[in-house]
Subunit: 372 residues, 2 copies
């Protein structure tokens, strides 16, 4: 069974784009930050093919924002991430893992600097608002922390630039990667960032009035007809090929940023106070015990992974677990992410995967999916 | 559309009882604390009838525990709730709304005192662990806060006492309401509390080893055959009739405990420090602006409530919203919970409900569903 019927209720918040997503054929969903996230329309493979060539509209309202505003905003943002946020200009965004006092990853959001003293944390699936509110309360910081009425709509794919230029203006072509501009669409203010959860390029449009969801969707949908616009969603195939990690799936609070192979997104020597400085320095010195790596699993397409699949070494000993997997049309193979002991992380290392009793050969790959 | 197909993934945690629930015919689900919660097997109405007469087994593993342990544990627990926890003995449980510094409800858990310096917070659907970790970190409290491997299985209904006596021993009949004992079932230690999310009585069995889910289920299921045991779940009909509120549905962080009509579960003059003392004293003095009340809505069974349904006064002005509703076989009417301005909360007050354009007469009822 790969899906279960989920009962809708007031507790599962509707997205401002939910009506349009369902009208356009969304057929399989997940829940993300207590909000419906449409994941599949026709099939992951079809939507993957289309995303690689054209432009898509994605309901990613479930990427909720946590707003931090006030005199201590920067101090608080610095405290909760080992990434150096002092170099984040107003108008810029940074992908920044949030860590607790033990170095455990709380979330891996994009942090958006709206003003000197105002940030949005654009979150993956965990309640960052409660975490940050708790820290701010405990430290007595002079800030307000809350979830504003802000819902991202993603425009992704190689034709995203053309579409955005048509809808908003040619100047949107000049938005740099992980920067944003302010604009007005359908009479409502939005922020448009060059970002998104695919490796195919595109934008995230931050709607700030959830009553305007249909109108915002419609203007892109209509203008997108000449670019063969399609519906889509964060795509399992594309995101694993592109090495994008999913919080809660590929890493949890049990993992530190080194284990999650997020080394390049942290600055453990940054000047500002952050809560896991000593822990991360210790791990950097001794080296992490395990790492998140790419892996190719041999053989035909695999069944749904519901229980954890062990990764096994030569002697059948467990050396890790598979965290995500999919069939890749590009590689014509099962591609996977796995957290594996450092003894077994070198590209080319042969391992086995126990997929609910279906034991397969597998090989560790590097970040570009190569092995020597 | 009342259900949507939900894709399973590693991010949506399986319950230790999930396999058995599905084998026994669970057909509709929700997600609660990022864990699958089976809500319906055959139908809510059938399971309601059975629950009123016999005994049921419920997979409520999604009621996760947040463990707080250490020298500052009681101080921290007191800080996060306006309920007086100093009177909670070891072995006892208390229903205690958690509130932020503005009085907003973070969750409405049962707090279980395991030892002088050790508590479990048995939570509704919000990430209390992150909130409490943040507060503890910020205040520099000497405690450890984490989610242990603990999953409740509920045994509910009028024959629950007989079944528990058969499985665990006659002494379980003496467990007082909202107290627990330690026991061993299927060779694994459990805590058994007289509690549960129904008004029909019963127990919650706290399994502390998620690998033992099937065995724990099976021993109750087999012993329960002579009591006509059935499968069930927190039942929408039963819980609204019994006045049980659902966090995220009937109250959110936007509401304070007075608005949520939880007055009897808070002690605003308690001795210990708690973070919203001044705010709650102010509200107690001026009176809350709205209240959660019972309501009967006239006419036949209503469709799924996806968008908020406004409650309207005499002049058509909005005076509140419906938060939960169901058809009640006992009252042969639509029963509902609604948050309504204090001007309209007296039992007997006539109002209207705009159910997606289907406008119905309705009446405020008291807690026993009476109106003068």
């Amino acid at each position: 069974m790969s899906t279960l019927p989920m009962i809708l209720s007031r507790r599962l918040r509707p997205s401002p784009f939910e009506q349009r997503a369902i009208e356009h054929g969304a057929s399989q969903f997940t829940l993300y930050n207590k909000m419906i996230l449409p994941l599949i329309y026709e099939s992951v493979a079809k939507e993957y093919e289309h995303l690689c060539k054209h432009v898509q509209i994605w309901d990613v309202a479930c990427e909720r924002q946590v707003e931090i505003v006030g005199p201590d905003a920067l101090r608080l943002v610095e405290l909760i991430t080992p990434r150096d946020m002092s170099t984040c200009a107003v108008g810029q965004c940074k992908y920044a893992p949030l860590c607790d006092e033990n170095g455990g990853i709380i979330n891996d959001p994009i942090i958006i600097r709206l003003a000197e003293d105002r940030f949005w944390i654009s979150i993956a699936d965990s309640d960052v608002c409660l975490w940050v509110k708790g820290v701010a309360y405990g430290r007595g910081f002079d800030v307000r922390v809350f979830e504003p009425d802000v819902s991202p709509l993603a425009i992704q794919g190689p034709k995203a630039d053309d579409l955005m230029a048509d809808v908003v203006g040619e100047h949107t072509r000049d938005i740099r990667f992980f920067w944003f501009i302010d604009a007005t669409i359908v009479g409502t203010p939005v922020k448009i960032a060059r970002s998104g959860w695919s490796g195919k390029g595109g934008f995230e449009v931050y709607l700030q009035d959830s009553s305007k969801g249909n109108e915002l969707w419609d203007i892109f949908w209509e203008a997108g007809q000449k670019y063969n616009i399609g519906v889509g969603a964060p795509n399992l195939i594309e995101r694993i090929e592109a090495g994008l990690k999913s919080y809660g799936q590929d890493m949890t609070i049990e993992n530190n940023p080194f284990e999650a192979s997020l080394d390049r997104y942290i600055d453990i020597d940054k000047e500002a106070e952050y809560m896991c400085r000593d822990v991360l320095h210790d791990i950097a010195k001794s080296g992490p015990k395990k790492r998140l790596v790419n892996m190719i699993i041999e053989g035909r397409d695999l069944d749904l992974m519901r229980a954890d699949w062990p990764v096994l070494g030569d002697d059948g000993e467990q050396v890790g677990i598979v965290t995500s997997k999919t069939w890749s049309p590009r590689f014509e193979a099962n591609i996977a992410l796995a957290i594996v002991n450092v003894s077994h992380v070198s590209p080319g290392t042969p391992v086995m995967v126990d997929a609910d009793g279906d034991t397969r050969s597998a090989t560790i790959r590097d970040e570009k999916w190569n092995a020597p």
